[in-house]
């Protein structure tokens, strides 16, 4: 049957990408339908129970700055919070929240159910309705046809999913859930490049069977951090510790002895897994000289005894899993509640996507999340938000929004994916961002919230808080730059003594703050004046101290901006451009970069090639001008 009413946007999948996509489109006022095979698993954390960390907190906070759910859910579900890299500088800091799975899921479910303009429907999708290279709608398992202007596909690991434990394997999208096979077949019929990737998850342990006295305790930070810009410590539930165990030589022997029954080492699994999140069998094989590895034991929640041993993801047979877990000090009697497994799944070559995450070959069809070759909740969530936003923009007849590499980590993520493709699951790291000093977790709101408001993603409450913070920062910078201290005055002497610096002449407070010895808290203490809003104060301090570096990066960005603004038409025949090497012609044909800037980031493309492209563009332009001048 045809469903009686039509939607603006349909989102397929209810994981982190799907929920952010559906919420974003609905926030923008588009009539949105979220289709999932199981409403009870909406917002499920399929792998480790944590949000944030290096590079990932940057993404979570960008989701937050754009009005998304993830960071707020983490604040309401986080049971241990830490700020990683707190001493290496503000740009590489990463807030990480250990989360209670049940609380997290409940928070997301609640948001979805209370979001105006959003409808949920439980049915697997088997088919896409495509006419003349344009999406029309979807068909569910029981044959219901839903029609919409835009469709966002966020099927995670479910497309053609195969679960491996030892030499046994079975179809599955996640332990306990069926895969999406019909949809996978359908996608392979479309003109898309599909590949296979692999990821894995560790066995889960019963906390009653663990001897914590033999483990190292890892408590959360004090004072307690928050994830969302609107977050409050009072939102956090009860806080608990994580624990650290170690593998030993015997653990490694057990694993080595089991490798002949490992699906990865016997060639059963073909897809590539993430190198930065390797299985334990990978770690001991590739780094054979390392005799011990850290294993983080993370509680899955407050109301459960389940423990997630982070660091022993494995697809070895269950008997080997049991033996290797029990070889570790503190885990001698550990009881495994769920076995670890590896999962292989279909992913779309992201080079078939545009910067708005729309498919190059089928208009109106958007892809987000793990299906694009990424891994991680935050990577999925921000893609979902971007795809949902662009799906809604399309339905509303508005232009796409494509954040640049110098504006947001999501800009880096999407540009990397569609320019370079990926051969392994892609995870965000701060070293992927060339403008790292500008893209900090502390200023995602300053970078994105205004844009989010313009797009319709940011509600009145968030907007008001943002505007107040921005004004406080500006006023404080103004005050500091016009408040002068002189040597020999009581205040001058007090400051000199407090920071142990000589005051040779008159300074304003902003100049003083720029000096390495001086901090904002100290200025506030000595002068008795300053911002009560800690986050605004932090912005003032970072902006002042990093002014030189930030200015230099901004110059670099401005220099490159010009070529970023030159579009490369989709129909350029690179083979006809003389002077380009065959290798460069091939690469540009494969990737079809959208702008000259993107072309320059394709590996192997030289400055001379960029010059030739520029001339080619000019020729086309002149040619078109001549044509249109013809009567």
């Amino acid at each position: 049957m045809d469903y009686p009413s039509r939607f603006d946007v349909i989102v397929i999948g209810g994981g982190h990408a799907g929920t952010e996509a559906a919420l974003a489109a609905a926030r923008m006022g588009s009539k949105t339908l979220l289709l999932t095979h199981n409403i009870d698993t909406l917002g499920q954390m399929s792998c480790n129970p944590a949000i944030g960390g290096i590079g990932k907190s940057h993404l979570a906070k960008e989701i937050d700055a754009l009005g998304g759910a993830m960071a707020m859910a983490a604040d309401h579900a986080g049971i241990q919070f830490r700020v990683l890299n707190s001493r290496k500088g503000p740009a590489v800091r990463g807030t990480r929240a250990q989360t209670d799975r049940a609380l997290y899921k409940a928070f997301i479910r609640n948001m979805l159910e209370n979001q105006p303009s959003l409808w949920l429907f439980q049915q697997a999708v088997d088919d896409l309705l495509v006419e003349q290279d344009s999406i029309r709608g979807v068909v569910t398992q029981m044959g219901v046809r839903f029609y919409a202007d835009s469709v966002v596909l966020t099927t995670g690991t479910f497309l053609g999913g195969t679960i491996h434990i030892g030499m046994q394997n079975q179809p599955g999208g996640r332990a306990g859930d069926p895969p999406a096979l019909a949809l996978a077949r359908r996608l392979r019929e479309l003109p898309l490049r599909i590949g296979r990737l692999k990821t894995g998850t560790p066995p889960r342990l019963d906390s009653r069977s663990i001897d914590f006295s033999k483990l190292i305790e890892q408590p959360g930070d004090t004072p307690l951090p928050v994830m969302s810009y609107l977050g409050k410590v009072e939102q956090h539930p009860e806080q608990v510790s994580c624990w650290i165990a170690h593998t030993n030589e015997r653990t490694h022997e057990i694993i080595r002895a089991g490798l002949d029954r490992s699906p990865m080492y016997t060639g059963v699994i073909e897809g590539a897994g993430p190198r930065y999140c390797p299985s334990i069998e990978d770690k001991i094989t590739r780094f054979a000289d390392k005799d011990s590895h850290q294993i983080f034991l993370e509680p899955e929640g407050l109301q459960t005894r389940e423990i997630y041993p982070n660091g022993i993801s494995t697809s070895l047979p269950f008997d080997v899993q049991l033996e290797l877990v029990r070889s570790m000090a503190g885990l001698e009697n550990a009881y495994i509640m769920r076995p670890g497994y590896a999962i292989e799944y279909d992913y779309l070559d992201p080079r078939d996507l545009k910067h708005n995450l729309e498919c190059k070959h089928i208009t109106g069809l958007f892809f987000a999340g793990q299906i694009n070759g990424t891994t991680g909740y935050e990577e999925a969530g921000i893609q979902g938000l971007l795809a949902g936003c662009n799906a809604a923009l399309r339905a509303q007849g508005r232009d796409s929004w494509t954040p640049r590499r110098d504006e947001a980590y999501v800009g880096v993520l999407v540009d990397d994916l569609i320019t370079l493709g990926t051969k392994e699951p892609y995870r965000m790291f701060t070293s992927r961002a060339e403008y790292r000093l500008i893209l900090r977790e502390d200023n995602a709101d300053m970078r994105l919230t205004e844009k989010g408001r313009e797009l319709g993603l940011v509600d009145d409450v968030r907007w008001a808080a943002f505007v107040a913070k921005r004004e406080a920062i500006e006023q404080e910078e103004q005050r500091l730059s016009t408040t002068w201290v002189r040597p020999g005055t009581p205040q001058g002497d007090a400051l000199a003594a407090h920071f142990n610096i000589p005051l040779s002449h008159e300074y304003n407070l902003l100049n003083l703050l720029a000096r390495p010895e001086v901090d904002y808290a100290g200025l506030q203490q000595v002068t008795g004046n300053g911002l009560a809003d800690q986050l605004a104060a932090e912005q003032v301090e970072i902006r002042t101290k990093y002014a030189g570096y930030i200015a230099r990066q901004q110059e670099e960005i401005a220099r490159l901006r010009a070529s970023e603004n030159i579009d490369l038409p989709a129909d350029i025949d690179y083979w006809s451009i003389s002077g380009l090497s065959r290798e460069i012609q091939q690469k540009l044909t494969d990737i079809r970069p959208a702008t000259l800037g993107q072309a320059s980031r394709v590996p192997g493309v030289t400055p001379a090639a960029i010059s030739l492209l520029m001339i080619q563009l000019k020729k086309r332009q002149a040619g078109q001008a001549l044509e249109s001048a013809d009567p």
């Binding site: 290496k88 500088g89 503000p90 190198r275 999140c277 790292r436 400055p607 001379a608």
Partner: protein, 455 residues
């Protein structure tokens, strides 16, 4: 369509020695550069004769400056042409000055490219320009291959590798704080950074010598009045370039002479004798001498071997030493050996300076000096130890060195990992300018293969 509007500069005349050499600048900074170099606001399309000055207002050269206001110029942008004397050293100094003022060195064919993009050339010429760029890049590639086989590129590549190795340690410490690999905290990074800095200094040193071989060495003859400086210049030049009299203070201005030794260019500057003087004209001469000394690649410090102060001239002339920080640049010439009777000979000292006894008047020991100058240019060293580096290369090395210095300061003083990382990123980008690649490094890939990482 808008195109990149940064300012480019290049030597527009053919490499080598000509009567006139032209440095051409195009882009938005041209007006500022013109005003700074010529010290006046130039009228568009008016030829103006005057000095081209350095950052302290001292003349680098004299010549004609031409300013074309965009779009009425070759490239369609503001264009400045500085027509000076043809020598590569002088042109290089002028170019360097433009770069100091914000221009970047142009790629081959880039002026024509801009002309085309700004509608200054018609469509029919597009192919020709494309061919030009292709040819230039082929030429550049050929040059690159040539130097790829050469020592210079090998050294730059090794240096880059060493820098990447350092960067993967820093980036690993930043992106994987929960792994047991915090190199920032354990002093490993500092040791590696020092090693990279030393390596870079070594490459800079060698590359500098390579540039000397190609563009020539600035040699300044300095000393007390009437020590025989002008005689020495004449002896080396093989003709009477300087007026030689026995009246102390005859050379009141600096005198320049270009000579070749076995085909290698030397730019000789004879200077006024260094002494306290009340003569206004001579005072100016002394000032100019000191300035020439400041810019010299090598200083021949001439003393009369018969005079008392010849025993230890350095100790007697502290004001001179103030002007010449690296004593290794100095060759002490004990002139008039025919009168003092000491044998013509060369001696090297531990602090890096050398001493040659000779007689300029009699031509005795001049061969020793010639050989010595050749060896100073790296001529006698094995060919592996020097390389032909262009100005672009030297500039890139200099910038990279500056970035590494900043990284060191950050690491030692503020221990801010992300700023160390940023300065190292800059350094690698600057070295990448030499190899002409957009840097597409796979730092993460290297991290994963070097360290055991992953939860």
């Amino acid at each position: 369509m808008t195109y990149p509007q940064d300012t480019i500069a290049a030597i527009a005349t053919a490499q080598g020695r000509g009567g006139v050499g032209i440095v051409r600048v195009s882009g938005s900074l041209v007006t500022d550069i013109a005003t700074a170099v010529c010290q006046v606001r130039l009228q568009p399309r008016h030829a103006r004769y005057g000095s081209f000055v350095d950052n302290s207002g001292l003349p680098l050269d004299e010549g004609i400056a031409l300013f074309f206001k965009g779009p009425n110029s070759f490239t369609g942008e503001d264009v400045l042409e500085l027509q000076g004397h043809g020598g590569p050293v002088i042109l290089d100094l002028i170019l360097k000055r433009c770069v100091e003022l914000g221009a970047r060195l142009a790629r081959p064919g880039e002026f024509s490219e801009r002309a085309f993009l700004n509608d200054k050339l018609d469509l029919a010429q597009a192919e020709a320009i494309a061919d030009l760029i292709e040819a230039s890049s082929v030429q550049a590639a050929r040059n690159a291959v040539r130097s790829l086989q050469g020592e210079f590129s090998r050294h730059v590549h090794e240096l880059t590798e060493q820098l990447i190795e350092l960067r993967i340690h820093v980036e690993a410490a930043i992106d994987f704080p929960e792994e047991e690999i915090d190199f920032l905290a354990d002093g490993q990074i500092l040791a590696k950074l020092e090693a990279v800095r030393n390596r870079l200094a070594d490459v800079q040193n060698r590359a500098g010598q390579g540039a000397l071989l190609r563009d020539g060495m600035n040699v300044v003859i300095a000393g007390r009045p009437n020590a025989g400086k002008s005689s020495l210049l004449n002896a080396l030049a093989g003709h009477e370039a300087a007026i030689v009299t026995d009246i102390a203070g005859t050379t009141r201005d600096t005198l320049k002479e270009h000579i070749h030794i076995d085909g290698m260019p030397l730019h000789m500057t004879d200077t006024a004798g260094l002494r306290q003087t009340t003569d206004a004209v001579e005072q100016i001469g002394v000032q100019r001498a000191l300035r020439a000394i400041d810019q010299a690649d090598r200083i021949l410090l001439v003393v009369d071997s018969n005079s008392g102060e010849a025993a230890d001239p350095f100790a007697l002339w502290p004001e001179f030493l103030d002007q010449v920080p690296p004593v290794g640049k100095v060759t002490l010439i004990r002139n008039k050996a025919d009168l003092s009777g000491e044998p013509c000979a060369i001696e090297s000292f531990a602090d890096g300076h050398s001493c040659i006894s000779l007689s300029a008047k009699q031509g005795q020991g001049i061969d020793l000096l010639r050989e010595h100058l050749k060896s100073c240019m790296g001529y006698q060293q094995t060919s592996e130890s020097t390389f032909s580096a262009r100005r672009r290369h030297l500039q890139a090395l200099e910038q990279a060195s500056h970035s590494l210095h900043n990284a060191y300061e950050q690491l030692v003083h503020s221990r801010a990992g992300e700023l160390v990382a940023e300065d190292l990123r800059m350094a690698q980008q600057q070295l990448g300018e030499i190899t002409g690649e957009f840097s597409a490094d796979d730092l993460l890939g290297r991290i994963f293969s070097s360290f055991c990482i992953g939860k």
